[in-house]
Amino acid sequence: MPELLALTGNDAVAYAMKQINPDVVAAYPITPQTSLMQKFADFVADGEVDTEMVLVESEHSAMSAVVGSQAAGARTMTATSACGLALMHEVLYIAAGYRLPVVMPVVNRALSAPINIQGDHSDTMGARDAGWIHIFSENAQEAYENTLQAIRIAEHPEVLTPVMVTLDGFIISHGVETVQIFDTARVQQFVGEYKPAFTLLNPHKPMTLGSLDFSDFYFEHKVSQLQGINYSPKVILEVGREFQRTFGGDCCYEHFEAYRMDDAEMAVIVLGSTAGATRMVVDDLRSRGIAAGMVKIRTFRPFPYEELAATLKKVKAVAVMDRSLAYGGDGGPVHIEVRSAMYGVNNAPLMANYIYGLGGKPIDLVHIESVFTDMQQAIATGKFPRRIGYLNLKE
């Protein structure tokens, strides 16, 4: 029977990891690590999982140990946050290049400088081109469910690509909310046993990892790596539908959620925890006869360009919300992707970018309402007040 528990986002993901019962977890046990791994370490210490827990001296070492362990044939996980992910950066590419189906929850937090420990998306956006699948979660429930689905997605034989499941730092990771936890036996049946087709420790099928690969084949290998992530959209949908059928959840199981978009004239595009407040603003505007809608992106990598363009081409104005900055780029990373998705679309909607919430700066309903007000003005005048705006910024 599913049970309702009061859990932080971190506890909910640790619970998912407990149910997954990975063979190996390697982790750096000090800040920037979060209570997620602390909770999982409790499960290990209490004998509630069979996991071999390896504590290492840095996040670079954590991902290196994960790569070694997964390559040897063990289902392996870790978790990190903020500058911990930054320190792993080099090894993220190795996990993806070896086609290792590692699953890693990441608590999205700001990067220094200045020093800040609060929530924004700068950390995983820095890893957006490392070859991993990125799945964003709106709340603790989605973080729990996405972590369970991520195992199936990563390990699918046509995908074999590492997955990071993200949850907004503090807002979700440290806030307690109602979470529905599914029956462990059924979860374990859904996740299944890990049967890797290729492992380093199989003498009957010898293989090499970590070899030198100069201009003769490096390019070919990197392009062939695309096959996995390019195949993944189909698998993400299949796994999501099977999860929903099995557990009857009502989270987002698509690449994005299109909320009240059927007849919308304007849409906010958002990632993560801000989607809930945006949905409330949309409902409020709808009750006043304003055709507002929202798109919540769930899979940022691979980015759903075509489906998103098909949804957005019907509206007159789009406002893309970014909780990180692409310095020297066109605002924030989500904006850059959405612009790219809309290139070549006839009568493409007007578009602007809104940067918000860096380093945990609060985002309230009034700020989201102001974005919709700008869109109404843009529709009326044919122009947004500015291409890139900043919400709740002291000027």
């Binding site: 309702l4 009061a6 907004d168 806030g175 307690v176 909310e177 109602t178 407040a277 309230d364």
Partner: protein, 195 residues
């Protein structure tokens, strides 16, 4: 905008070490046993002993959508009376809201200090520090404040909150500490003073 009146929003003020964050969670978890949806979260910063901190609880009939801050609370809980001269604890309080303060003073006196003359907000006081000293031998006013909250709002029976506290902390605390906290909840629910 408290999206509908079916959601109760509570803001807790305390100083680092007084247990305001724990109180916000204990209350939320007890409300879950009534089949309500909950959220409990601190205002995020670096926690320091003695520094003013805020924490929040949301209790709702429906699933809670927003993850925005609580800006217009229905109830404000103040664990430390010395905060009254430092911050405006009534900020954003709903017109017909409730404020419960840990102090030996009478509610009418506190209403004057808070500049709430002529406003509909209801003021309650409770000597949470005294109750905590009596049952725990030290000043940890958080569980008495949870008791005072249910004493005023009648959202839950004090016995039910006490039972949840026992369940949550069994194995973490010694029986005498659990029993002390249970006594704190029960006494405060009875002793909280209205105008």
């Amino acid at each position: 905008m408290n999206d509908t009146k079916s959601m109760l929003e509570i803001r807790w003020h305390g100083r680092g070490g007084q247990g305001a964050v724990t109180a916000s969670k204990v209350l939320a978890e007890s409300a879950m046993s009534l089949g309500k949806y909950i959220q409990a979260f601190p205002e995020y910063g670096s926690e320091r002993q003695g520094a003013p901190i805020k924490s929040f609880t949301r209790i709702s009939e429906q699933r809670i959508m927003t993850h925005a801050q609580v800006n217009t609370p229905d109830v404000v809980m103040v664990l430390d009376p010395t905060l009254l001269s430092v911050i405006d604890v009534t900020e954003g309080l709903q017109e017909d809201g409730i404020i419960i303060i840990n102090t030996q003073s009478e509610p009418a006196e506190i209403r004057g200090k808070l500049n709430l003359h002529g406003r509909r907000a209801r003021v309650y006081t409770i000597d949470a520090t005294g109750i905590s000293l009596k049952h725990l031998g030290k000043s940890i006013p958080n569980t008495p404040m949870v008791g005072a909250f249910v004493g005023v709002t009648k959202l839950l029976a004090p016995e039910a909150v006490a039972e949840d506290f026992r369940k949550k902390f069994a194995g973490k605390f010694k029986e005498e500490i659990i029993q002390g906290n249970v006594q704190c909840i029960m006494d405060a629910a009875k002793e909280v003073k209205s105008e």
